[in-house]
Symmetry: C2
Subunit: 191 residues, 2 copies
DNA sequence: TATATACTTGAGCGACCGCTCAAGAAAGAC
DNA sequence: GTCTTTCTTGAGCGGTCGCTCAAGTATATA
């Protein structure tokens, strides 16, 4: 006696929620917003996701996972050094994205003062991302593309910081983000 | 027939409100929070400031104005180049500050998607700050401390972006912000 | 001291918040 | 068709939001 199946595509809903949260932030997104955009009544929403925070967590997870995957794919295609040099430009040109700035950073900045679990989760993902960058710098160093007297972890820390600044700057209309991206890439060439 | 004077120091209240907003953000700060921290009942609060947003605006104004003043003072004391090299370290070492990250950037990031007036105000102040940086770079260039083949405006844009990234990174426990600050200062030396 | 003028107080407004749950609708098993 | 199970629906809960306002209180003038 199997009953009816849900009418929605859960994965697609998470992706849409991610875009809304990404753009509007945690406090800036109400359940009304989600219900309207996801076309879910409150009952279905809570049956599917449990709570607003739980959905935000899923959205963050998805965001981080896709970010890592995209970077790895880029490195596979271009090699570590070129990937690191290309990433700044790619990240501000992503035309389909709901925002230029990083969702992990926005989440962390918004919720850290509250010691919210989601801030901790975002921070963890930023650490993962930093580790990815460090990996690529290390590979580039082993390939001889970067001088041996550099610490890959330190390069990664600086690089991630630059990327966060770039992506925040890219939201501003009075800033030419492409110049910044080009300068970041140029810095890598000088290593 | 002059009546009683207010019991509070308006300027001090604005400074305290700035610290609360800076740490907790716009949505993250409720009137209850403000009433408790400023020791004002709702009636006095609204008599003094008109609205939460109005107080936030005053706090932003104060924040921006003090930021510019601090930078100018630093430049007067150390000269333009040294000021630019020192600022990154100072900004993450400010021990009395309620947060490492920039209140203008946090405000902009939180409210831009809503097209909130406060986001526009914050963006304007960031532009002013960028102009300050450009001024210092130009002065350093005229003094011969920086090669003549650099555009001060472009340097300022990159510098501000780096500073935003640094200050956001400085909130994280898994990041050594001093390393980043030192690297940013080192970049300036290579110009 | 009497009066006019402000400041202080706090109950409480309407709106919205995240969320619950009982009732109705749909679909596979028999 | 009938039954069972799940999904869908939407009214509405308790709570908090930003904010108002009338009553009470303190102070400088006259």
């Amino acid at each position: 006696m199997m009953p009816r199946r849900p009418e929605y595509d859960r994965d697609a809903l998470i992706a849409r929620a991610r875009d809304i949260f990404w753009r509007q932030g945690w406090a800036g997104t109400s359940l009304k917003d989600l219900e309207r955009e996801l076309k879910l009544k409150p009952g279905s929403f809570y049956a599917a996701f449990g709570s607003k925070d739980a959905l935000y967590g899923l959205a963050l997870e998805r965001y981080a996972q896709e970010g890592v995957a995209r970077l790895r794919a880029l490195a596979d295609r271009l090699g570590p050094l070129e990937a690191l040099k290309t990433q700044p430009r790619l990240v501000i040109e992503a035309s389909g994205a709901p925002a230029k700035s990083c969702m992990l950073a926005k989440t962390y900045a918004e919720l850290q003062a509250k010691d919210h679990d989601l801030a901790e989760q975002a921070g963890g993902h930023m650490a993962e991302m930093k580790a990815c960058f460090a990996d690529l710098f290390r590979q580039a160093q082993e390939a001889g593309d970067i001088g041996p007297d550099h610490d890959p972890n330190r390069l990664a820390t600086r690089y991630q910081s630059d990327l966060l600044g770039l992506r925040l700057s890219a939201e501003r209309s009075d800033v030419d983000a492409h110049e910044i991206a080009a300068d970041i890439a140029a810095d890598i060439d000088r290593l």
